[in-house]
């Protein structure tokens, strides 16, 4: 049996997507900027994909840009918005648990003279609205808070946080990295007061190397890539037509029955957590304490990510032990003897030091089956005692 439980790293592209990408690559190879028929046909693919995404987000077609992926979307949103609005103020806000695509870009902006506030998070990984409120100043021009944390699955109430920003600083822009939540839950940027939102193709069973950035028509953003003026000058470079077509189709297919699949994922997660925590010395991270019982607490988190700590077991070793049984997961923190890199998210939620290097991430997708979860649980219950016997001091 095989269990691919690393869907937050990447997902398997849907067969329909692969076929469609192939078809576009082979048959619709025109340059969308060309004036002839071949160009027009390629442009049609772009328009189709753009409309598919704006339908899902319930917003106008003109505000979705295609990029090379989540990282570029985050870079464009943050650098483009910060620099376009620097006259209004030089203060930016983000959290300590963001993806490196946001954190490293913020570090770059600090070098460009911006002041950045990094918010602490609650022990369950969410941002406390009170903490955000205190951090806002009249010089704040941009707030970037991720929707779902990629390591522990904590899910912020983005609508509430964005509302708060708009009330206190009407001029400030609100960006969310929705790479882990797009395709898992419904998101309506307009209603939620989101000005910019990053998404990625390969996390929703689409191709790699393609992503999108939603920008509300009111937001002032300047481009970071210059060239032939494609996508209204906001993102120059000949469009990746097959990738874009694949992203559009994947989004459409995933959102066709999103309510149902979200429910199914929550049920899987609940079942997995319940059995997992029955194993001795195993704890699950990122579940709110005040959720009113485990069942409703899980509903406050993302439906597809489980972060678990296995006391006395090294994450890397457990990962490879699972790998030998064809179970694929991620280490919460990649830690090698000569190059320690401890997870910032796990540190930020105040995880016990001894567990930092004992934490794994299991992430599901619409394709994850109950049998895979059960198989993983049975392998875990076999392997963990074995590995604990030989733990390093």
């Amino acid at each position: 049996m095989r269990a691919y439980l690393d869907n937050s790293a990447t997902t398997r592209p849907l067969d329909k997507v692969t076929e469609y990408v192939c078809h576009v690559m082979k048959d619709v190879y025109g340059n969308p900027s060309s004036m002839h028929m071949a160009g027009v046909e390629a442009e049609k693919e772009l328009r189709g994909a753009r409309e598919a995404i704006s339908d899902i987000l319930k917003t106008e077609a003109g505000t979705v840009l295609f990029t090379s992926g989540g990282t570029e979307s985050d870079n464009l949103a943050l650098i483009g918005a910060a620099e376009a609005n620097r006259r209004a103020g030089m203060h930016l806000i983000t959290t300590k648990t963001e993806h490196p695509a946001v954190l490293e870009t913020m570090k770059y902006l600090e070098g460009q003279g911006f002041e950045v506030t990094y918010l602490d998070v609650l022990p369950d990984g969410r941002v406390d609205p009170g903490v955000l409120s205190e951090a806002l100043t009249d010089r704040t021009v941009l707030v970037s808070i991720m929707h779902v944390n990629n390591e522990i699955g904590a899910m912020n109430d983005i609508g509430q946080l964005a509302r708060l920003v708009k009330d206190r600083c009407p001029m400030a822009l609100f960006h969310t990295d929705a790479v882990q939540s797009f395709g898992k839950v419904r998101i309506n940027p307009k209603k939620m007061n989101i000005d910019m939102m990053s998404v990625s193709g390969h996390k929703i069973h689409g191709p790699k190397g393609i992503g999108a950035l939603y920008i509300s028509e009111k937001a002032k953003v300047r481009p970071v890539i210059f060239g032939g003026g494609q996508q209204k000058g906001m993102r120059s470079g000949t469009e990746n037509v097959p990738g874009i077509a694949g992203l559009g189709l994947a989004a459409k297919l995933i959102y066709e029955d999103i309510e149902e699949s979200t429910e199914r994922l929550y049920a899987l997660k609940e079942h997995f957590i319940r059995d997992l925590t029955e194993l001795p010395d195993v704890s699950v991270n990122g579940i709110p304490e005040d959720g009113g019982g485990i069942k409703s607490a899980i509903r406050l988190t993302a439906p597809h990510i489980v972060s678990a700590s296995f006391a006395g077991v090294r994450a890397e070793v457990l990962l490879h032990a699972l790998e030998s049984k064809e179970i694929y997961v991620s280490a919460g923190s990649a830690c090698a003897s000569n190059k320690p890199s401890v997870s910032r998210t796990l540190q930020a939620i105040g995880l016990d030091k001894s567990l930092l290097d004992s934490t794994l991430r299991f992430s599901f997708s619409v394709e994850t089956k109950q049998e895979e979860i059960d198989y993983t649980l049975s392998v875990l219950s076999e392997e963990i005692p074995k590995l604990r016997r030989y733990s390093r001091h």
Binding site: E316, V317, L318, L319, H320, A321, L322, E323, S324, A336, S337, N338, K339, R389, Y390, R392, H393
Partner: protein, 393 residues
């Protein structure tokens, strides 16, 4: 004027006696092998105690030189212009043209080294030296003769053809691989062992290698790193037959039954025993390790003695007197450093005790090993059965 020929100079082989041809033939064989990876057709020939590489088609001179620089036994590589001109006047003209091609800037001192191996040529070497020197001086008045320390050496050799050359690129020295038997290298993912393999191969020894793999404690990537290192070393040594041995069960048995501070030393004794078995089965006449006195606890003189006593084959430790910095410099020179420092755990580091013994007593270690008596023979046999052979080219 394009070079068509390289003159290969060798030092140590030249002093051999009646078996000199063995070394020359091995050298030619190695040259042919490395040139297989360079575009173009080449003829490698031997004549009057010299080896020549003729380019039979268009070739990239820099690539040929780079390849030849990795052939042990070569001391110098001279790109040579071959001329069929028999007339001495036109030979002088060719040399003048050669100087112009090679040294656009004429502010140099020079000396002509003529050699008349074919005694039927009408001009003696002394006469050639004078006449050619004069011709060069006449053509380029800014050049001066210096017979003691010339900046430029112009060699003109009259053999079956006439050769003109000036520049010499240093080869690695040593002896052609294959002229001195075969030895088994204990290859880890570290900095030292690839260098040790390089150094022994430089003395003409063919290399096989063994790597001890410990899944799930070491990852597939750690194994791939060792394969990559073997590949880098094989650029000098020719094909390396790499044996990958699964060492996990032996390691766990030692961990369970022996004192933890003796773990590394006992582990290394079993590695040596297995390496020796593999060596004997594969026609190797010695073992090679990257040990250097005092580098770590298992490499003190006491530890080396205790490790050494388990095998009867000679153990070659070419780095024994090297400082770490010297080893790093060598590893950078041969191009293995960047790969060696990739951060994957190898089996030597995973179970390391906080305070390992630094002055082990052979008696005590032997007594500790008796605790393994009932399982170890079987475990060793099993480990040898896991031997996965990878031919690294």
């Amino acid at each position: 004027m394009k070079y068509s020929t390289f003159l290969i100079k060798y030092a140590e082989i030249a002093v051999k006696g009646k078996n000199r041809y063995v070394f020359e033939d091995a050298l030619m064989h190695r040259i042919r092998l490395v040139l297989k990876h360079v575009e173009g057709d080449y003829a490698v020939t031997k004549s009057q105690g010299r080896v020549y590489v003729d380019c039979l088609s268009a070739c990239d001179e820099d690539e040929v030189i780079a390849a030849l620089k990795r052939v042990f036994g070569i001391n110098g590589i001279c790109p040579v212009v071959k001329t069929d001109t028999e007339d001495f006047e036109s030979l002088k003209e060719e040399v003048v043209k050669f100087v112009d091609d090679q040294y656009p800037d004429k502010n140099h001192t020079f000396k002509v080294f003529a050699k008349r191996a074919r005694k039927t040529y009408p001009v003696s070497s002394m006469e050639m030296n004078c006449a050619i020197g004069e011709a060069v001086l006449e053509a380029y008045p800014s050049m001066k003769v210096d017979v003691h320390k010339p900046e430029i050496e112009i060699h003109v050799e009259v053999r079956e053809s006439i050769f003109i050359y000036s520049k010499q690129y240093a080869g690695p020295g040593g002896m052609p691989v294959g002229t001195n038997g075969k030895a088994m290298l204990l290859l880890s993912g570290g900095i030292d062992s690839p260098v040790a393999g390089y150094m022994i191969a430089k003395r003409g020894v063919k290399i096989d290698a063994v790597y001890f793999h410990a899944p799930p404690y070491t990852s597939e990537r750690a194994k791939q790193k060792v394969v990559d290192l073997a590949r880098l070393v094989s650029r000098y040594t020719g094909t390396i037959c790499l044996h990958v041995i699964n060492f996990t069960d032996i390691q766990l048995a030692i961990y369970e039954k022996c004192p933890h501070e003796e773990l590394t030393i006992i582990m290394r004794r079993y590695m040596m025993r297995i390496a020796e078995r593999l060596a004997c089965d594969n026609g190797c006449l010695g073992l090679i390790t990257g040990e250097s006195i005092g580098q770590v606890a298992s490499q003190t003189v006491q530890s080396l003695a205790v490790t050494n006593e388990v095998c009867t084959l000679p153990v070659f430790r070419p780095l024994i007197g090297f400082d770490k910095l010297d080893i790093i410099a060598l590893s950078e020179k041969i191009g293995t450093f960047e790969t060696s420092i990739l951060p994957y755990e190898d089996c030597c580091t995973i179970f390391v005790a906080k305070h390992p013994v630094t002055k082990p007593d052979a008696m005590i270690i032997r007594r500790s090993e008796t605790k393994l008596a009932d399982v170890i023979d079987e475990l060793v046999e099993k480990a040898i059965e896991t031997d996965e052979v990878i031919n690294v080219i």
